[in-house]
Amino acid sequence: MLDFLGLVVFAIFTIMIVGAGLGVVLANRVTTSALLMAFTFLNMAGMFVLLGAETIAAFQVLIYVGAITVLILYGVMFTPQTPRAYGLFFQKQTPWGAVLAALAALPVIVVAFSFHDAKTVAPPGGDLNALAIAVFNSFAFPFEVASVLLLAAMVGAIVLVKRESPAAPPAAPLRRSEPPR
């Protein structure tokens, strides 16, 4: 009974994820894409709950649905779009890209179904303890490195978008050891 209910919930999530995902790729308006992406993430959080990974699900909601979506929306805001005909939303290589993606997807999905015998077991009592122990014991060093990565990304992002103040003199041309021949 519970299995059946789980199956139904799983089916709903699946439809939502695949549908919204397709929507992200196919939607005409960028804002729509962004909102559909947030929706996909939300459903993905549901999937995590189904798998018994409540902590991950919580992170998913916080980081993806919250932070990243907001960031993307900022990006959309800063790059005003001119509405254009639908066909122009695709790159010149679209046929190639679509065929390639489909070709690559096929075997993977086939392989995915080869796991049909395996079951997933949700750990009793949630995953928070296990996750915490893993992160702060065995993976303590990578975790610290990850924080450095975040810091670097932050600095990089700031440097990239920072405008040169208009008062600054123009950058000196590259010096040469002697005048060009």
Binding site: Q91, K92, W96, G97, L100, A101, L103, V108
Partner: protein, 641 residues
Amino acid sequence: MSVDVVGLVWLVPGIPLAAAIVNGLFGRRWLHRTTGVIASVALGLSAALGLAIFFAVLASGGQPRVVTLYEWIGVGDFRVDTAALVDPLSATMVAVVAGISFLIHIFSIGYMEHDRGIHRFFTWLPLFVFFMLTLVLADNYLLMFVGWEGVGLCSYLLIGFWFEKPAPYTAANKAFWMNRIGDWGFTIGTILTFLTFGSLNFHEVFDKVAGVAQTQPLTITFIALAFFLGATGKSAQLPLYSWLPDAMEGPTPVSALIHAATMVTAGVYLVARSTPIFADAGSALVVVGIVGAVTALFAATIALVQVDIKRVLAYSTVSQLGYMFLACGVGAPIAAIFHLATHAFFKALLFLGSGSVIHATEEQDMRRMGGLRRKMPITYWTFLLAGGALAAIPPLAGFWSKDEIVGAAFTSGHQILWSVGIGTGLLTAFYTTRMIYLTFHGEPRDHHLYDHAHESPPVMTVPLMLLAAGAVLAGLVLGFPPDAGFIHRFLAGVVSAEAGQQPEAPNYVLIAVLAAVAVVAALIGIGIGYAMYARRRPDPAAVSRAAGPIYTLLVNKYFVDELYDHRIIDGGRALFGAAWAFDAHIIDGIVDRLAWLTALIGSGLRRVQTGVVGNYALSIAAGLLVLIVVYGGYATGMLHR
């Protein structure tokens, strides 16, 4: 108490080296003309010590002694020491070299007085003496090679002494290069000697020669020929002789010392020193004799028609060196050394005499001289004595030694070589007479030149007189009676082909007959010369017209220089140019083509880089697909390793 003079033997070359270093370091800035005094004093000390060693060796009965300084090179079984071998042969050479060098240094003080390069001159001249003494003192072939190349270097430097003019430096290069060809032979000979005998030490080699000759006669012949090639280069024999006449571009004392008395005799010394090898070398010895005889005749014919006084002497030197090799070739190395010693005196004297003339007249062309005997009596008389010695007039020095060589050729059964020797003697007498008449006798042909001529200062004439004494007496002192004189007894143990055997008693009747023939030939030569140049019957110009093409051939020195310059040098240049073109166009061309090809491929592949991000993403996806297919293929077993 007695001082161990022989133990001090390294001072003999050491003192000149010290003088050379002092003059070289301080001469230009501070010493200037004092360099001449320093060098002469050093040479005086060196010569005195050399003589002392000579007498010490004489007193000890000719016992050889090795004075080792230090181990020079020792690698594996190869070992060479810086060591001197003091035996009668080297002691004789040391005495001759140091003594004559001393006199010539003194002469040079006067001769070079006004030259602004005097400090260079008195750096290189003692340096030369150092190398020459190293050459004769060395107790092994490699150390000898040091001296051998060192004298070549000094010869190069001194020939090119006036290097601002093209003729001297061209001659200097020619001398060095031709010597290098000879040195190639010397190097090969040295290495083959080591490989055959396991040592380069003279004594160790000579002890084994007889044994090796039994088993490897061909090797010995090769070694002898290789060394002889070296000797032809240094001693200006065919075919490597043509540098010596050109070497007269150097200052005249240099010609006297290096290109007459000492360095050019190094080849003779080498052959004489290696007598045991050459004695067992079979056909190589014949080659030595023939080359010597042919060179003697060949050079004498050229000397007949030269007008430059120094060039006459140069060809005469080549010719006399030919005699010495002839002696070695017919198995009379002692005669060769004897002639080497007497020749050193009279040829040095002739050169210094000509130097005195050149110093007085600043002219080398004999056609513009004449009658100088009235202006320069001392020079004239000493020159005359030396000329007589060269023409082998008894009892002057040259007679004894040359007669012995020619006699040895006859008694050893080489009648053809003997007749060549007699014929060359005739020619020698003729050109000597011609030279003396043109220079000193007759009427002055250039009055301006004649009026300015003057006798040289005592610093130059005193050495002339001392050398003249040598030119007169050396033959008698060293080599009388013939074949059993002082030098024969002194050197017998060292350079005789049959070391240790008692020489047979000389056949004095035969010797007297042969000597008479030689003297008659010389007198005929003098007579013809006197007739042509004093009486003008027949007139020399008429004779040369009559001789026609032969005269042209002789004046142009058989066109050998032309042959060397135009065939060998030009051919070499063409070859080297071709090698360079090959390098630049083929080898480097391939390299550049490769680079060009890479660039071409690169510019083709450049189109792939569209700059559109999407295309890159697409290729990433394509790569992903390939990975999936390959990995999946392996995983599912559809592909096999």
